[in-house]
């Protein structure tokens, strides 16, 4: 079973996304802020990270930077953000983010994108 880490400070979004992905058959780890996200990553191997951009303690971009510094950048990352500002999108992709979704978003679309990202990761692993 694929394991996905969802980091989001809005509990309603976190629970809804987690519920939606659980129904799709994924194992979900939840984190309410950036620091908790980093803690969870220390103790868990995950196949995908879905993170919000604006979170307490560590924001999404800081989380991604930390992952890059720790050479954990092989995990695909999807960003969920209320702000679709070009600056944020470019910065996120510059840091190695694989996908970017702007809120409000559709859960069906999210599931499709997750599936796609996991498939890509699988392809990459098989090549390497």
């Amino acid at each position: 079973m694929k394991r996905i880490l969802v980091a989001e400070d809005n509990r309603l979004i976190l629970e809804t996304v987690a519920q939606s992905l659980t129904r799709e058959g994924y194992d979900i780890i939840k984190a309410a802020d950036g620091r908790e996200c980093m803690d969870q990553l220390k103790s868990n191997e995950v196949d995908l990270i879905i993170t919000d951009l604006y979170m307490p303690h560590l924001n999404g971009l800081e989380v991604i930077s930390n992952l890059n510094n720790q050479n954990k950048n092989i995990t695909p990352i999807m960003v969920l953000s209320a702000s679709g500002a070009e600056e944020n999108v470019l910065k996120a992709f510059d840091l190695g983010v694989d996908d970017f979704m702007v809120k409000p978003f559709s859960l069906i679309e999210l599931n499709v994108r997750v599936k796609k990202l996991l498939a890509l990761k699988k392809q990459q692993l098989s090549i390497t």
């Binding site: 629970e15 809804t16 519920q19 209320a82 559709s106």
Partner: protein, 529 residues
């Protein structure tokens, strides 16, 4: 009765009656009188007992205590009560009534012999005696009568006796005495007490408010979490509606209904698709639209705005008519919210409300409307149609939108705005002519220039940078030759950037040694400007 006792009685009576006389004599004038009362007794009864007998209360002071006698000065509780005592002693002692003014330092209290009336004991000057509370406590007297003051003071002393440990009691009693004797001390005492009570009050109020707020927030957090879980379960089909409804505990409470609405708004704000579709359904099933409708009809503007917001997001069909009615609301914020809601709810004709708008369409609302058009990519109407409207805000907004969306369908309408009575409208039309490159407006704005105000004049000159041709060189030259420096500068800039012929004109003027032209050219060609 022994002679000694008799003498003492006479002396005491003389003093007592003299002071009583003084008191009665001045009483009718409303002045405050002091008495001296001698407390004489062979049996030496307790001070308190004697005090009661002669109506001596705490507001009197013991002037002197010798043998078994006590000498008091002060105001007695009741003149009427005092009179019989004085008169009785006067009668018994057969003593002449002598007026004494105790406030006069020359007054003596003489212990006289009863037989030959010669001084038999010490002579005391009142001024030499220990000071007492001669001062009147005018502050307390403003609010209470003497009796009440006295009773209150005694209560304080009794309280001290019962509650204050012996080592501190003396200090306490002294403080009480000082307070009652000295008005300034009393004033500051009450002032300090007032401030202390105020501070305590504020702290208590703060503590209570914070505690109450925290408790409320804690409850709301608990309910919020519970409601979210139930609603998510329902949305994902884990439970049916009856079960969900049953699990939504205390959903009838006003505060909890607000929590439910905020959760639904949160869903609406963050999700599209299936989840978004569930939101109005739950909103209606829980009857929350009634709460929002009630809020819209509230007399409080903030609640009204909240109601508009909820209906717009969660019950659009129900919101349309209500919002339409509030387009011309008196309150700026309510009106602004209603106008924005109208644009959101009527995506096909977002500015249809212009037809009925009589109240202002504020700049803030205009900016919000513009953002809504951009964010939600609403169909942009032909704003030139709205230039005909009498409403000045609509015309100005339309001119701005015409420029932004490059709407050149109705140029005559834009040019007509140059004739507007409003300075801002004319300014916006000059700006539109400039930015939209409306060459047809050249002659018109040249004619308007000389009657315009400074800001508009500058805008007209600026326009020639974009739309100016050779025919306009003379106009700009005239400005450089005759107008103040700000206009000259702008005209020089327009000439320079208009075309090669403009630059040639500037060179020609420079060669003709037009005053200051060299500096103007240097200024406009400087990249820092």
């Amino acid at each position: 009765m022994s002679s000694f006792t008799f003498v003492k009685l006479i002396i005491h009576s003389v003093l007592l009656v003299s002071c009583a006389y003084q008191s009665f004599a001045n009483g009718g004038k409303g002045s405050i009188n002091f008495f001296v009362q001698i407390n004489a007794s062979e049996t030496s009864p307790g001070k308190q007992q004697q005090s009661l007998k002669h109506n001596i209360h705490k507001s009197t002071d013991e002037l002197y205590s010798g043998h078994e006698n006590h000498y008091y000065a002060g105001k007695f509780d009741n003149k009427e009560n005092d009179r019989p005592v004085s008169e009785k002693q006067l009668r018994e002692s057969d003593t002449t009534l002598i007026p004494y003014d105790l406030t006069d330092p020359r007054v003596q209290m003489v212990v006289s012999d009863s037989i030959d009336d010669t001084p038999a004991g010490s002579t005391y000057f009142v001024s030499d005696l220990p000071t007492g509370n001669y001062s009147e406590n005018f502050i307390l007297r403003m609010f209470f009568n003497d009796s009440e003051i006295s009773v209150f003071q005694w209560k304080l002393i009794d309280f001290g006796k019962e509650n204050i440990p012996q080592p501190f009691r003396r200090l306490y009693n002294q403080t009480i005495d000082n307070i009652f004797e000295n008005p300034a001390v009393l004033f500051f005492f009450f002032l300090i007490l007032f401030f202390i009570l105020n501070i305590i009050g504020v702290f208590l109020l703060l503590s209570y408010t914070i505690k109450r707020k925290n408790r409320k927030e804690k409850f709301l957090r608990i309910f919020s979490k519970m409601y979210e879980e139930v609603l998510i379960s329902y949305m994902f089909g884990l439970i049916d509606w009856p079960a969900a409804s049953e699990k939504l505990k205390r959903k009838g409470k006003k505060e909890n209904r607000k929590v439910l609405i905020s959760i639904l708004l949160n869903f609406k704000e963050n999700f599209r698709g299936d989840v978004e579709k569930f939101v109005p359904e739950i909103y209606m099933k829980l009857g929350l639209h009634n709460d929002s409708l009630k809020a819209v009809h509230s007399s409080r503007n903030f609640t009204k705005i909240q109601g508009i917001l909820e209906l717009t997001h969660l019950y659009p069909d129900g919101a349309k008519d209500i919002v339409k009615d509030l387009i011309n609301a008196k309150n700026d914020y309510v009106r602004s919210e209603a106008q924005i809601a109208f644009i959101r709810l009527n995506t096909k004709e977002p500015f249809k409300f212009f037809e009925n708008l009589t109240k202002p369409f504020t700049r803030w609302t205009q900016i919000s409307a513009f953002n809504l058009i951009r964010i939600y990519q609403l169909p942009v109407p032909s704003f030139a149609d709205h230039l005909e409207r009498q409403h000045i805000n609509i015309r100005n907004f339309s001119l701005r939108m015409i420029v932004y969306f490059q709407q050149l369908e109705n140029i005559p309408e834009i040019l007509r705005m140059v004739e507007s009575e409003r300075e801002l409208t004319r300014f916006l039309s000059y700006e539109a002519i400039n930015l939209l490159r409306i060459y047809e407006g050249r002659e018109l704005i040249k004619n308007k220039y000389w009657e315009e105000k400074e800001k508009n004049k500058i805008e007209i000159i600026k326009a020639f940078r974009n739309i100016g041709i050779e025919d306009d060189l003379e106009f700009l030259e005239r400005i450089i030759l005759s107008e103040p420096v700000s206009f000259k500068t702008e005209a020089c800039r327009s000439l320079y950037y208009m075309s090669q012929s403009g630059k040639n004109k500037l060179d020609q003027m420079n060669n003709n040694a037009v005053q200051g032209i060299e500096q103007l050219i240097a200024h406009v060609t400087d990249p820092r400007n």
